[in-house]
């Protein structure tokens, strides 16, 4: 073990900031991260063991206990449930003879829950030893378990057809489908690698920034900060080294557009990073990819290698003296909060993914305390088109506040789930038509994932854009027969509670209290007081440090606002207060332990 750990540490240049990579390798090699490995890492890096352990314990794909030769992570997102996860989960449990969170006695397989893995358009899906298995059925699960018993390699277990496009290439070989349904300026194939780089090296960095500013482009991650301005801040910030980060940690349940870009248009993305590097004066780029997309690693590495060979990356790029830029891929290890830019930087430095206090913003003090730009995958891709066709051209799409196009990840109850590139300014109604969802069959649409808004048919005429319904691109369509409170809102609350980094007491505590109230209402013990409390308590969350904490109450607040009847019909009308306390339930375990029969 000692030698193995030493070798891994050396592989990453004895750099303690590469702790994530070191841990990912150890986890992969052993199926868990043994205590001795933690001791060894702490010793080598002269850190305390708890410093290493806090990183290990933070990410849910790291485990301090064995996870089995085959570690099965079954997605438990809302859409997975809609698409029949319950039966799939039950079949896994029955066939393996274990519950979730357990490993079979012979150590062959472990079964775990995981939040949205970016496959919402092909659920139920699972990750087994970094391979993706989509559209699972009880039958398919039986096949998988049989293969596990036979000790088959996960690559051989993918017996279905490979997915479309690059998914079937030798370096990916995955059953994942792209489901690209509508192509616009970002997704179209009208691009050859190096095109935009050749153009920018003839320009001054300031001119590149000017062009991006002219396009009025705003960040595509959801917050919508103007991209050109961000670059300018970073360019002007003092610092001996600057960094470009691509945020490919799309963890918002229901989003999967970045996965499709990483699969089909990685050259476009990398070119966008080179442009950002040139504009800002950075020499290093890091793509922070969520661990769920680890199956794309070799594919991405190969394309980076091709770019280096063509001198699109490396030193004196395309003959431009002093223009040096290279990109490396940093994988996360399963933490939604790492999609927040400062948490992402912390994570890339090998630490817990806790958002930093801001200011200073990453453009002033980011990675290694140096000025850092963090841009979404889609933003960086759009930049290339702005450079090639001009800011004015880009501005010709969309609305005043929201220029250009937006990639939408659409899933749920519709005929054609998948990725759509639409011009900003679409109404929800237009989208429902486009994806094959009959309006009379749709009860609600979740716009922007759990942190966004749950809207009712009354609002389907609202438009997508920063002026009205801002979104990072996730739309989940909820059919008439779904139970919104128990099926969707409760799942989202569980998600936020699991994913809180625990730093702010507001986010650590209030969502749990709110979930308890919701459960009380679902158990027919709620009163008007509970509804009032939910509204009031939700406001406290605004005191949290990051977007996760601030929006962690939104599933309840938004459904309460737009679907008040769902709550009102479940509360007790004749009571002004009910604590929901049940003495018999509260002594159940204790009575068993003492062998007493309660007598109240």
């Amino acid at each position: 073990m000692k030698a193995e750990v030493k070798k891994t540490i050396e592989k990453y240049g004895n750099d303690k900031f590469r702790l994530m990579d070191i841990l990912i390798d150890i986890q992969k090699e052993n199926g868990y991260i043994p205590g001795e490995a933690i001791t060894q890492i702490a010793e080598d890096f002269e850190m305390s063991e708890v410093d290493v352990e806090q990183t290990v314990s933070f990410y849910h794909f790291f485990s301090q206990k064995p996870t089995g030769k085959y570690a099965i992570f079954l997605n438990n997102s809302v859409v997975a449930n809609m698409m029949g996860r319950a039966e799939v989960a039950a079949t896994f449990m029955k066939e393996l003879g274990i519950k979730f969170g357990e490993v079979t006695p012979d150590g062959s397989a472990g079964l775990f829950n995981t939040s949205c893995i970016g496959m919402n358009d092909q659920e139920p899906a699972a990750i087994i030893n970094n391979r993706i298995f989509t559209r699972l059925t009880p039958f398919r699960v039986k096949e998988i378990v049989r293969d596990i018993r036979e000790g088959k390699d996960v690559d051989e277990m993918n017996v279905q057809d490979w997915g479309d496009g690059e998914n079937s290439s030798d370096l990916i070989r995955s059953v994942v489908s792209n489901n690209i349904r509508k192509i616009g300026p970002v997704l179209d194939r009208d691009f050859t690698a190096g095109q935009a780089i050749e153009k920018i090296i003839k320009l001054k960095p300031e001119e590149v920034i000017e062009e991006v500013k002219k396009s009025n482009m705003r960040g595509r991650g959801g917050a919508g900060f103007p991209t050109g301005l961000k670059w300018e801040f970073c360019r002007n910030a003092p610092g001996e080294k600057k960094y470009i980060f691509c945020n490919a940690d799309e963890g918002e349940p229901g989003t999967f557009k970045d996965r499709v870009i990483l699969t089909e248009r990685p050259r476009l993305l990398f070119e966008g990073m080179v442009i950002a590097g040139y504009a800002v004066g950075a020499s290093e780029g890091i793509v922070y990819v969520r661990y769920e997309y680890k199956y794309l690693e070799q594919h991405l590495e190969k394309i980076l290698q091709q770019a280096r060979e063509a001198n699109y990356l490396g030193k004196n790029i395309l003959g431009k003296k002093g223009f040096n830029f290279d990109i490396r891929i940093q994988f996360g290890a399963g933490a939604y909060v790492c999609g927040e830019e400062s948490a992402l930087i912390e994570s890339a430095e090998g630490k817990r993914g806790e958002p930093r206090d801001r200011p200073p913003f990453p453009v002033e003090k980011g990675y290694h305390d140096m000025p850092t730009v963090v841009n979404n995958v889609e933003t960086l891709c759009s930049v290339v088109k702005v450079i090639l066709k001009g800011g004015e051209w880009y501005k010709s799409f969309g609305t005043n506040e929201s220029t250009g196009t937006k990639l939408l990840s659409i899933s749920g109850d519709c005929k054609f789930p998948g990725v759509y590139e639409v011009v900003w300014g679409f109404s929800v109604n237009d989208i429902l038509d486009m994806v094959g969802a009959g309006k009379e069959d749709v009860q609600a649409v979740q716009v922007g994932g759990p942190s966004g808004a749950l809207i009712s048919p009354d609002e389907f005429n609202r438009t997508l854009g920063y002026e009205d319904l801002a979104t990072g691109g996730s739309l989940i369509i909820i059919g008439k027969n779904r139970d919104i409170l128990s099926g969707i809102v409760l799942n989202f609350m569980d998600f936020f509670i699991d994913e809180s980094c625990g730093s702010c007491s507001t986010c650590r505590i209030v969502p749990t209290l709110m979930r308890n109230k919701l459960n009380k209402i679902l158990n027919a013990r709620g009163t008007q007081q509970d509804i009032d409390d939910l509204t009031e308590w939700g406001k406290i969350l605004k005191a949290s440090r990051c977007g996760l904490g601030q929006t962690a109450g939104n599933p309840i607040l938004s459904s309460l606002k737009n679907f008040p009847a769902l709550y009102e019909e479940k509360i007790q009308k004749n009571k002004s207060f009910d604590s929901g306390f049940d003495l018999n339930a509260a002594i159940k375990e204790s009575a068993k332990a003492t062998g007493r029969i309660p007598n109240f």
Binding site: S505, S579, F581, E589, S590, A593, T594, G595
Partner: protein
């Protein structure tokens, strides 16, 4: 007008909050001028003899008896106040909430290092004993609580000010030091 009637109790607490009540020093004489005490450890009245105006609750609910007492208080008092950390959040006793109750009992009566003599390996089960709850509950999760006085224990002045405000009906002064987050 007759004097307001006060009742107090300590559930799963340490009596520290009651000590803090005594800490109002000589104002205790004034307090006895202002109010009448009913069920309370202060005068050792064990059972309610009449309806009360204010009930002060120290401690959360860790067993069935706490629940019965608390419900009794709710029935007899117009206003109930959770006094101190344990009543409001469960406090120190709630540290067991993360451990299954069976493990707690086994540690205390069977496997703990300080266990001696329990050859028959019995976890106390006499019917006379209150039954432990699976976890410690803050009071407001059992009955409606009207007011909360935070602190461990709440400072004597805070308790005094709150009582005076409740009795006089005047609004209580809440300076920043009293309501700050941590």
């Amino acid at each position: 007008m007759s004097k307001p009637i006060i009742a107090t109790t300590s559930l799963a607490g340490c009596f520290g909050c009651h000590m803090s009540v005594l800490d109002i020093d000589d104002r205790i004489l004034e307090l006895f001028e202002l109010v009448e005490f009913n069920k309370s450890p202060i005068n050792d009245i064990k059972k309610f003899t009449k309806k009360c105006d204010i009930g002060l609750i120290e401690g959360g609910c860790c067993n069935s008896e706490n629940v019965h007492v608390l419900k009794d208080f709710r029935e007899h008092c117009k206003i109930l106040v959770s006094v101190g950390e344990c009543a409001i959040m469960g406090g120190l006793p709630a540290m067991r909430n993360g451990i299954p109750i069976r493990e707690c009992l086994e540690e205390a009566y069977l496997n703990g290092l300080t266990v001696v003599g329990n050859e028959e390996r019995i976890i106390p089960n006499d019917p006379e004993l209150p039954m432990l709850l699976d976890r410690v509950f803050p009071c407001h999760e059992v009955v409606k609580i009207d007011y909360f006085l935070p602190g461990c224990p709440p400072r004597a002045d805070l308790i005094w000010d709150a009582l005076v405000a409740l009795i006089s009906g005047d609004e209580m002064k809440l300076p920043y030091e009293v309501v700050k987050f941590d």
